[in-house]
Structure formats: C-alpha cells, structure tokens
Symmetry: D2
Subunit: 173 residues, 4 copies
C-alpha cells in the first residue's frame, strides 16, 4: 500500500496533478494507492492536533492514510526554497516515530528551474531522522506550468516517463 502525498494545502494547486498522475501510473503496475493532501487536514491542526491534543478527524486521517502505508510518495511544490511548512507542521503533529520503517520517494515541483532541490534535501534530513528510508531518486519537476494543459492535466511525455521510472524504482526499493 502506497500513500501519495500532496504537501501543500493551497486550493487548486498544480502539484495535485502530479499526484494524480503518479497514482495512475503506480496503480497501473498493480500497487494499491491512497491520496492524501494537506488540504484534508483540519484548518487549525497546528493547535487542535499538536502537543498532545488530538481530534477524531485527524486521528482517523492518520489511521487511514499513514499507518497502513508501507510507502509514501511525497510530492512537494517549492515554497521559499523549501517544501511547504504545512507539511512539516503535519510531521511535527504526528506521534513520535509514526513514520518509522516506511519507505519514501520524493518528487519536487517548481514553477521555475531547479525542481525544489533544496526542499527535497531538507525533507530527506527530516525523514531520515524519523527513521524513514528515502529512495535515492529525488525527482525534480521544473517549469510545471509548461507541462500541464488547460485542464491542468499533466501531459508532458518526458515528465510522465520520469515519473513512471520513479514508480518502478520505488516498488523495487
């Protein structure tokens, strides 16, 4: 079981199109997938579900999307030269070592060049500390606005191929 995570809670974001394509590709290889977006979190989880507090909604979300996942695919837009703070706040809100023993694959998404290389480096440091194995292939997707059509579906062939290879590597990791 793999959970593919959209690390932003921005409404109508581009990253979700990469998430959806990733799930499509991974399911075509026979892997059952779930989708988790930071939009699914309670708007006030930084208080309601942090530092010992826990709501039923957050708890259910963790039990459904995080606990049973052997693999996490973490797809992150570049915000201020890193991954979104809301996703780090989500990790901070999890119980100690909730992610222990899972395997992760990282994808960076940027409107400019660079594909969020720094964000994936920062995230690797955090995940290693959380005892998550992080696959070597940190896939950078640059100039994302050039890769989607008017309906915001991902249509760029080279990017789809790179995602497909990333899927194969993740399943073999």
């Amino acid at each position: 079981m793999t959970t593919v995570i959209c690390t932003t809670n921005r409404p109508k974001n581009q990253t979700i199109k990469i998430v959806e394509k990733y799930i499509e590709l991974l399911e075509a290889k026979g892997e059952p997938c779930m989708k988790l977006s930071m939009e699914d979190l309670p708007a006030d989880f930084i208080v309601s579900d942090s530092y010992g507090n826990r709501t039923e909604g957050f708890d259910k979300l963790v039990k459904e999307y995080i606990t049973p996942a052997e693999r996490l695919v973490i797809i992150s837009p570049e915000y201020n030269a890193s991954y979104p703070g809301v996703f780090k706040a989500f990790i901070d809100a999890l119980e100690y070592k909730s992610l222990r023993g899972k395997k992760a694959g990282l994808v960076g998404v940027a409107s400019g060049r660079g594909g969020n290389a720094l964000g994936m480096a920062h995230l690797t440091d955090v995940l290693h500390h959380a005892e998550v194995e992080v696959m070597f292939n940190r896939l950078p997707i640059s100039s994302v606005y050039n890769l989607v059509d008017k309906n915001k579906a991902l249509i760029d062939e080279a990017t789809i191929e790179a995602l497909d290879k990333h899927c194969d590597q993740l399943l073999a990791f």
Copy 2:
C-alpha cells in the same frame, strides 16, 4: 528595532526562556526589542491567512512585529531534525519578499546534543531565498533542560555569555 521570534507554538515551551533572556540582553545594550511567538498566530492561519486570504489579526501582527523590524532573531527548537513547521508555514503565509533586506541571527535549541544544526541550515536556505542576510554565528544551545531552573528561567552562565556575544555580533552585522 529587533524582533525576537519564538518559532514554536507549543504551550509552555522552553524556547521562550531563551527568547526572553535574549531580549533582556539586547535591551541592556540599548536596542529596542519586540517579542513574537508562533503562539500569537491565529490557530487556523494556514487557511485563513494563506494563498491570498488575510485576516485583520494576522495583518496587524505582521505590520507590528515584522514590517518595522530591521533585525530578526529567530530562536528555534529542534523538531524532527529541523525547525518547527509552523514557522515555515508562517513564512509561506507572508506576502512575497516581506522579509527582504532584513538581517537575521539564528539560535538553535535542543534537548539533546547538536543544538539544531540541521534546522538552522534549512532555515538559512529559506531566509537567503527571502533576501534576508543571515549572520554567520548560528548559535547552538544543547541540553536546554540542564540550563534552566525550576521556574524555567535560563541560568546557565556559559549560555548567557554566548547569547550576549551573539547580541553584540548581531548589532555589528
């Protein structure tokens, strides 16, 4: 004018004791100081004040504590081998280049060894991108529980000296 920032919103955190001591030391040198804690943010700012949304409360806080500050002292506990996600979410919620041209000094706080070296490195990458000058001295404070007394006041002499030197360096930066 310097704003000293506590980057966590954890109730009754240890970091605030370092923040308070820093302000005391800096004010003794004649520098006017303000204190901003992530506890001061709206509990739902990741929605209410992100992606084009803005509440009056958040707006006022930015205008009072961020806009007029020439210097920011950013004091961060170590959460999952980095600085708290809530602080990155705060930076993500600011308007583009709100921090441009400011000068920053970093202090890391950890219960264990290491003093949040990785968190200060991640934060430097983010601040440089936001066009903030970051002073070289990333001050690591380790084993913070050994440095405070029962009232949680910072009493360790060597730490106070290190903070005092950091203040001097910041004012000269």
Copy 3:
C-alpha cells in the same frame, strides 16, 4: 562485501579507530569487509587521477575496494562543519556513476558535540545524486576523544552498542 571508508587522510586520525571497530563488529556477523582510507590515495590524485587522467595505482584501488562492494560504510570526521574535502575530491575523481546501485551507511565523528550532522546531510545529497541508497540511520559520534583509550582503541560501551545496531540495520537494508 562491504567496504568501510575512513574519509580523512590525516595521519594518525581518530576516525580510523571507529573504522576498525566497525569492521570487527561487521565481520563478527559474517560479513566480509575491506578497509579503505583516504590515506591510501596518491598524494596528487586531484591532478593525476581527475578529469580523464588515471594512474594504475588509483585504478587498482577503485577496482579492489569500490567496484566489488555492495555496501559502503562511510565514516567521516567533522572538518569545518562538513565531511573532509579530500573524500568529495575522491568521489569527483571516480568515473560517472561508479557508485550507482550501492548501499551506504553513514557515521559522523566529532571532537565536539553534534557528531557531524551537517557533514552527513551534505554527503547524503551527494550520494543520492550518485544513485546510492543511503540508510536512514546517520550515526553521530560526539566527543570522540573521550571514547578511546591511550592506545586509541574505541572502548566506550554505548558507542560500541550503537555501532553494532548500525551494522545490523545496514545488513538488513
């Protein structure tokens, strides 16, 4: 086959004692090991074996210690808040993708606190790019001078236990 690498070429360094203990522990678990130290490199390899140049000695060393190794244990002292430059120069001198597909375990060694956390982060970025899988457990060894006896043998029990656990994790990775 595992090659355990001492990433410094400093004569009579402390790191080699950690390397030797690691090999002892890993061999006791039935894993065949080799030892490679940056002291073994030609003194002028940054010219003689870089940018298309190759000496017989360097070539032999790569074929003997790098090519056949499935796993690399990379043990790095902290020099200037990172791992030794000589080891990065060694990686730069290797042919493109010589390390591809290998698995790595990292150990940091420091005379002070922190255990080379930044150095292991930098090294992870480099190894991931070289298509090396890097185990999550970046083991920090701090205050190394307190852990060895007069003969510079590693005698600290807690450190030996941490290394032994690291060995087990590496073999299972």
Copy 4:
C-alpha cells in the same frame, strides 16, 4: 580588495569564464580584484599542505590571495550535486579561522538546470562555520554551455546583468 575564486582545478573549465567576467564587472566599479583558481594549488597539497605541513608555495598563495582579501567571490561548478571537493580540501588545509571576518558572495554554475543550489547551500554551512558572512544572493547560472561563445567568453546578456547586480550587492554588503 576582492579575490574571485574558481573552485575547480579542471583544465580548461567553463567556470573560469564566469570568474573573468565577474572580475571585469567588479573592476569597472572601482574594486581592485585578484583571481585564484584551484589550478594554482600544488598537485599534492592534500598531503604537502595539510595537517601541519606547509610548503612555501602554498603559504605564499594564501598570503597573497586570501589574507588581504576583505571579500571572496566563490564561483563553483556543480560536481556530484555539490561544489568541487578540491575546494573543500583547500578550506580544510587553511589554518584555523583563516577566513574569519571576510564577506563572501556565491555563484553556482551548472551545465544542467538548478545552478548548483545544493552546492551553494553546503558551502554556506561551511563558510558560516568558518565565521564568514555570506551574502543572501546565491546566484545560480544554469545551462552554462548555452551562455558562452566558441572562444568560451560569456556573452549571455541576462547572465551578465545578473552578475553585475551581484557585484553591486556584494560591494554594499
């Protein structure tokens, strides 16, 4: 006085063209400049000038190009997702705190996209530890082969403008 450093010792590298253009731009603003390339180092400096050893040639080079420089501009190609190991080995070979109090500006050079963002992040960590102030603007130059003409002179106008702005920022830092 500013020393502009080419961090690779690769013969006939592209980075030197950026170095030369930077010096031309900086001198046009009235700043005296010196050029230091890692090609100028003794081929065996990792032994001959490390760990307490020092040759006359290396010593002279440090006294001429490093000691009197108030500012360092460090221009680094991307080797294995970081800056060249030979430059880190050079820093490791310097006496403790030789760089203390200097100001640095970073430029990254890459044949692909990304402009050596990770390398400049790693280098910032090292320089901050060496007590060097690092200017916020880490200038990434991507696709360098498209920016130079047959004589390998830098001719791309947008890149020259970005370098010129970087010069102004450095002089004001």
